[in-house]
Symmetry: D2
Subunit: 309 residues, 4 copies
């Protein structure tokens, strides 16, 4: 099933589960898939920045992608293929598409600065992987230090018929959604799917600005799916009520560096994965942080019973 | 009244109020001072990054500082004196101390990278302003791109008897507070005051890690003062309850760039300042953002009546 | 005499001479002016990045500018007015124009990234200083970390009739000169003056690509003037012969940070200034570096008798 | 033959030769090896930043390394193994050592800022590849944006007995060599080999400051080997005479981005490689640049007959 511009809902950014000794925990991959499906995911994204992709051997990357493709019950699986060289990008992109991926996600290399450089990079990348693979633009300035204006995104969309989606992860980024939907309204850009990241920190308003859903890895994918659903149903206050209950924990998870440790710890406590181990180089929550997260979980449980662990 | 290491509570980062035509709104300076005192401020910081200091003429800077010093009823006023050259830093620092400031705040220049460069910069800066002026280290990597380890901060504290305070604004930064308090406990660093910034995004836990209070400009200084007070009184749950009610708005205000527009808009709606104008180059909330902030204020008012505007 | 697009030849970037105690050495300002005129300068630029401008008090900046304006025998004096805020930029720009400056030079603030941000910054800056002041775009990515494409420069030129010159300081930058002259040839950009910086490291070929001259502070302005003159006269081999003889020293001076110490040391040895002191924070050549520069001067003197010191 | 601290002379940074269609030109690998041996190389470094390593498939990387190991007549071959994840770094390091490499070279990841982060990164990297593999620290701030002080380098050297060499590529960097040799003299750091990079731009003085040789890819390795030899023999003036004759071309090659195109073009004209093609994304000299390089070669040939092409 190929990715197209109607994609919406929740595409969790899947972490890669590891055992304490650094091997991939394939059993937990299965559990993750079950939980994502139960949470209402409409797709999944693997081998993203928060998926510890650079620490995987090439065959491990392929294996992870294949397991998700096999398990996700026909839902679209997007695979991150960002790489310093186009040869590796092409090799991984072609291989995962052969295995049934719905599309690939490409982030710009951090050295890009000018508008022309960014547009040119995507032109070369798509030439490398081929124009037949549906792709997602990853726009994540806080981590990648590449700033794409709405005009640059429009140019990439117009240059490449295979561009189906923007993973929107700018911060602040609400006006960017409004600008892009404005380009669609004035006819200067064809429609695309916009899913938002940043751990969900602005998902409440991103939906109101025109996002189609969320693509992020917050440890309660159910909440993300619910907020998307409630906003689409016009139930604004209920969406914000649920979102606000989660915000103290979500904000804690949305710290640079510490974030993945928090996310894996909560996913472990919730039974989504067996261990919160990261492959080296990696971190782990220390005792004070674990106590803080436990306290946040206990407080959240008063509003959302799914937080009872 | 000189700043010393016992400083605690709430030092709001004061915005500079402007009229629509760009002149300083001195009447609003007086209103701001009254509101800060009523909110429970224990001091104030002026001419910070969020105070639009670089847009002021030298005589305006001095005038603003003098007005706060005169109005704050003897409470300590800290003045930001960061500058590309030490001559300007010295001139402003000596002038505001002559007028009665309690101390000055110094941020590192963005080009610093290595530990030695940072320590050396503070050595030269203190040599320039003089060792008799109490000073605050501003540690704000997200904006300044200078990363100070706890060891570097300790070195600066130990090098300079006139260092009284850290404005802690790292993100993530909870472990930095724990590390610094650990240095005090093991005797390797003399005690200092630690007030935290970042718009208050982690104030709830920063107090539990050992912070003495807040130094930030969130548009509800009452909440910041209350959370500090409740945490010091051991009323943890009440502190978090109040904090969590404000978090949706606080998170909105804590956006890079858009943040100051949000802050000034809310302060205007609350009657703290007459206009949300910024001096050029500056921004303003657009219509969708104003509507979002209004919605957040209405939601907040259900939990905190001070948000009724 | 107002700066216009016919400016060419050599505009030295003047250092600010200091006495050992940090005061400005006004006598050496006079000597510098005499030597620049003798060297064939057709103008001069003061208060640039290498002029230690941020370390000057506002009245000192004005005084330096006024002395050069008075001394340069009617030749155009360009004054650097880059500043974090537009108020200070405007104040200095208007003041030096009142004193007879020919124009001002404006560098982008380092935080700018996207094409739109850069173009927008110049729009706001020119609105601030006024459209009646001739100005120079400073394009210096290595130090400012702002990358302007030829298209961005063209946009700024077309937006502002008061833009007269590009200080070209990109690296590598030869193709940028070719691109801009191409824009003039195809009618998409009106003509401007292009003077090149980077310490002169590519002046030999920059002239062949279409530059009008040099704007840099290499300690042998005579060589820069000669190379410009020889290239304009079509005496290519002679230009390169002279340039190549200086390149070992020029390359030494063109080191980040160490460069200004080297330049002031050579200018001192040549009698252009009385002391190589920098105002704090500043550096000085250590003994091994001085010995290396002395050796380079001795070797250069075999080819160019002006290096006998 | 394992790399040790006595390594000296010339280790060229080998480019990877490609055919016009993007395949590796294995015939040219053989030619390159012959020319390096004839030029007086005492070793070689492959898969460096200028070797287009990130564009190679893993098996290609191994194949390139194996060809150099087989061809270099028992001289040490150093292999660049820098990678975003330690798994890939370990896999490549172990594989090339099995094939007979003398050691590996590791650059820090660009996100590192503080001294502790850099020291910690090397600790984790060496734990990953194993303490039995001789390794080289690559210190290249201009490209990697990581600044290592002499103290940080000393710490890494003292932490790891397997650290044999520094590839010194700081700019400016002469004082760093002096500082490190000073650490050896005062007994605070054990001796290491220091080979210098930066295209050779300061090789003349680096040798006088205490470097053991050059590790860079300038298209005339003969010159690099000669300058190292002459300086070691105490023939200072002859070393500088030869160096200065090459400096105009060397400076041209030492441009960011354009540099590799220049290098490959000259190597092609000299018969070291059959084509100057780069694998995508890559560049090529345009016509004006080729004409400039040809002119520089013709001028150089008057001083050094090896430049007659």
């Amino acid at each position: 099933m190929a990715l197209d511009i109607t994609a919406s809902g929740l595409f969790p950014i899947a972490p890669t589960p590891f055992l304490a000794d650094g091997r991939i925990d394939t059993a937990s991959v299965g559990t993750l898939i079950d939980r994502y499906l139960a949470a209402g995911a409409t797709g999944v994204t693997v081998l993203g920045i928060m998926g510890e992709a650079p620490k995987l051997e090439p065959e491990e990357s392929l294996d992870i992608a294949a397991r998700f493709i096999a398990g996700m019950a026909g839902l679209p699986v997007i695979v991150g293929v960002s790489a310093p060289g186009f040869a590796a990008m092409r090799a991984l992109a072609r291989a995962v598409m052969d295995k049934g991926a719905a599309g690939v996600m490409i982030a710009p290399v951090p050295s890009l600065r000018t508008d022309d450089q960014i547009v040119g990079y995507y032109r070369q990348a798509i030439e490398a992987i081929g124009g037949d693979i549906p792709f997602v633009i990853q726009d994540y300035p806080l981590t990648l230090s590449v700033q794409m204006t709405p005009k640059v995104i429009r140019q990439i969309v117009q240059d490449h018929a295979s561009c189906m989606m923007l993973k929107h992860e700018d911060w602040p980024g609400l006006d960017k959604i409004t600008a892009l939907r404005g380009f669609q309204a004035d006819g200067s850009m064809r429609p695309i799917s916009i899913l938002t990241g940043n751990g969900g920190l602005f998902l409440d308003f991103e939906m109101e600005r025109g996002a189609d859903g969320a693509m992020t890895g917050y440890a309660f994918p159910e909440m993300l799916a619910d907020v998307v659903r409630l906003q689409k149903a016009g139930d604004r206050d209920a969406a914000h009520d649920l979102f606000d209950a989660h915000l103290p924990l979500l904000r804690y998870e949305q710290q640079q560096g510490v974030g993945l440790s928090t996310r894996k710890y909560v996913l472990m406590r919730r039974g989504f994965i067996a261990s919160d181990a990261q492959r080296k180089p990696g971190g782990a929550l220390n005792a004070p942080a674990r106590a803080e997260v436990d306290y946040l979980l206990a407080r959240l449980a008063k509003h959302d019973p799914r937080a009872r662990v």
